[in-house]
């Protein structure tokens, strides 16, 4: 198998926002390079998705691949999210390694039956005899009045489901490494990317590498408060940590990287050190990732807490369209700073 020779990149842990080697690449190009290398390395890999071969190329992340590998391996699909997920799963069960691409996370509810009832359960239901090496990519949109049905961020729904792996890279380095890991691991994996990260640059090794699921990263070390984020919010937290540092407050920033499996140990060890926890999720609060992180701490480090846990999440309503509403819908850097100061 072409994947065994790729070493898992445990050096990823503890690194700063990008890897320490490689070229500067955008998040978008890191994903594209990952797809390109997966297609190159493994004839079982193919890509499917609505319009993935069009001139937009899924916000640029699939550009040129149809030309390079042909439309037999980089395949446009009908608009039929549940059916296409089933098709991809059927192919995955029978020897292929598809990557199914959705332009927005909002379309995943259409595919929930296949995601939850089939992909996630198949390996277990067959006693381990038939796995589903399917990678699903989906992108979170935001802003410009995209409103209720085009700016959701539904990782928590999937993180609830045993049998799925759910990763949310914050950096170009992780985007490529997690994509390759998803394909290589053979586990059904949902990789959720944020559109606002696509232009972000970072160091990305040229050769293929894997960033294992379930290992978070310390993006900044600190002693007085633990700030937990993922995907886009990691960057807000880093900015907040900088501002706090300027005011003499030392914040540690964790990047969960994957929400299922979840790196409980990393969270616990940080909170045991700092005694304070602020979680900034991309999404709603109730029964979300932020709840899970808080719960893990309440279970394993309640005695270390020196102040209440705080969660910064979307307002508990659908995304409104108008700009002033939209602005107040999303928590920002200043909310983090204010929140931390309120705890100290």
């Amino acid at each position: 198998m072409p994947w065994t020779k790729l070493l898992a990149d445990n050096a990823g842990t503890g690194e700063p926002c990008s890897g320490e080697q490689g070229r500067r690449l955008s998040y978008r190009d890191a994903i594209r390079e990952g797809l390109d290398q997966a297609l190159e390395l493994d004839p079982r890999v193919f890509l499917m998705g609505e319009g993935i071969d069009d001139p937009g190329g899924v916000f640029g992340s699939t550009l040129g691949l149809a030309q390079k590998y042909g439309r037999g391996r980089v395949m446009d699909t009908p608009l039929a999210e549940n059916g296409m997920t089933g098709v991809a799963a059927g192919a995955a069960m029978t020897g292929m390694r598809p990557v199914l691409i959705h332009m927005r996370v909002d379309f995943l509810p259409m595919a929930m039956d296949q995601m939850i009832n089939h992909l996630a359960k198949w390996r277990y239901m067959t006693g381990g005899r038939c796995s589903v090496p399917l990678t699903v990519r989906a992108i979170i949109g935001r802003g410009w009045g995209s409103a209720a049905q085009h700016s959701q961020s539904l990782q928590s729904l999937f993180a609830h489901i045993p049998g799925l792996t759910v990763v949310m890279p914050a950096t170009p380095h992780d985007a490529k490494g997690m994509l390759l890991e998803s394909v290589a691991s053979g586990e059904p994996t949902l990789m959720i990317e944020h559109r606002w990260l696509y232009d972000r640059m970072g160091l990305v090794p040229e050769e293929p590498y894997r960033v294992p699921a379930g290992i978070g990263a310390v993006r900044r070390t600190g002693t007085e408060v633990t700030l937990v984020g993922l995907s886009l919010t990691v960057h807000d937290l880093l900015l907040a940590a900088e501002q706090l540092a300027a005011e003499g407050i030392s914040a540690e920033v964790l990047d969960l990287r994957s929400v299922r499996p979840l790196d409980e140990a990393l969270i616990i060890s940080s909170v045991r050190k700092t005694g304070r926890l602020v979680i900034m999720d991309l999404g709603w609060k109730r029964c979300g990732v932020s709840a899970e992180v808080a719960a893990v701490v309440a279970e394993q480090a309640f005695d270390a807490l020196r102040s209440p846990v705080r969660r910064l999440c979307f307002a508990e309503c659908p995304t409104p369209a108008a700009a002033p509403l939209e602005n107040s819908y999303y928590p920002g850097v200043s909310d983090v700073v204010a929140c931390v100061k309120g705890l100290l």
Binding site: E50, G51, D54, P55, G56, D76, T77, P78, L79, A80, E81, N82, G83, D106, F107, M110, W144, G145, S146, A147, A148, Q149, H150, A315, E316, C317, P318, P320, A321, A322, A323, P324, L325, N327, S328, Y329
Partner: protein, 326 residues
């Protein structure tokens, strides 16, 4: 008047006027968009105006339509105020959904528009449900589902046809087949059998109609609506058409290579307004048309002045309207 039509002039002028209102409304969006006062994605239907115009002419105010991401034309044709649409595009409290919905969720329950959905395929079962509701309330209303060729690939299309046929519901399935879903051509997504061909599988009468010929649309729609009103059940109409602008936004997607230039030229030559306009001019209605331009321009000016002059929503009310409790 023309051989193609036994319609009276009044009807033809009314159809033209509807198309013109849609066209000029969207052209105004194109003009204004770069100023960034409209901060919401717009899916324009320029080039497709014949379908809403021809179909909605048969609808009463209380009949229902359910629309999609590409809804301006449907809502204008149904009779909704251009003022509240413009206000919604500008994210104002005066907008139809008070700035909550933006461009993709236009609604006006008082005009039979419970709402629009930007989830492809979502509008279809909702319209079937409205038809069921009308039947149960015995209120004589009918429902129209607007959707695109892409939507006809979604499972909801099949589920909706099945249920509507089973109960002979008063619903018209109006598929605007503009040959693309975003930039994916129809033939990359469907076998050649065609969308109307699906009807037979459910015993639903179905026809392919030239969507750029508003008179053809009018005739086909008239029959479908009459069937629904007579309690004879659903009809599937596949309108062939083409959008002139890109999938989203005010620009054309030609330069980006999204669609072939030849195709573009061909469809521009088949402008639905020009199609009817040239015939109207032939029979001496040139002055009426010119007058209409003026009237419509004034309406559009008024609508956008209203829309731009509205009130910004107060962030303090962000949680309002989530439910009826709060």
């Amino acid at each position: 008047m023309t051989p193609q039509s036994d319609l009276n002039l009044e009807t033809l002028l009314s159809l033209y006027r509807t198309m013109l209102r849609i066209r000029r409304f969207e052209e105004r969006i194109v003009d204004l968009y770069p100023r960034q006062g409209i901060r919401t994605p717009v899916h324009l239907c320029i080039g497709q105006e014949g379908i809403p115009a021809g179909l909605c002419d048969f609808l009463r105010r209380e009949d229902y339509i359910f629309s999609t991401h590409r809804s301006h034309g449907h809502c204008i044709a149904k009779g909704m105020s251009m003022r509240v649409i413009a206000a919604e595009l500008h994210g104002q409290e005066e907008g139809c959904s008070r700035g909550r919905g933006g461009s993709m969720h236009l609604c006006d329950p008082e005009w039979g528009i419970p709402g629009s959905t930007a989830i492809v395929g979502g509008s279809i079962p909702l319209a079937v449900g409205a038809a069921l509701s009308a039947r149960m309330q015995n209120n004589g209303r009918i429902a129209v589902a607007f959707f695109g060729d892409g939507a006809s690939e979604e499972g909801s299309f099949h589920e909706s046809l099945n249920f509507a046929a089973l109960h002979s519901l008063p619903v018209v399935f109006a598929c605007e087949n503009n040959l693309y879903a975003t930039s994916s051509p129809l033939e990359a997504r469907q076998p050649p059998a065609g969308i109307a061909a699906k009807g037979a599988g459910y015993g639903i009468p179905a026809v392919v109609v030239d969507g750029n010929d508003v008179i053809a649309v009018y005739h086909a729609a008239g029959e479908a609506v009459a069937r629904a009103r007579r309690g004879e059940g659903p009809t599937l109409l596949e309108f062939r058409t083409w959008r002139w602008k890109g999938h989203v936004g005010p620009g054309c997607d030609l330069a980006a290579g999204c669609r072939p230039a030849g195709e573009h030229a061909e469809w521009l030559a088949r402008c639905p307004l020009e199609f009817l306009g040239s015939r109207l001019r032939e029979v001496g209605c040139g002055e009426e048309l010119a007058a209409l331009e003026g009237i419509v321009a004034a309406e559009i000016d008024d609508a956008f002045a209203y829309g731009q002059g509205g009130t910004e929503p107060d962030p303090a009310g962000i949680l309002n309207d989530l439910d009826g409790r709060g």
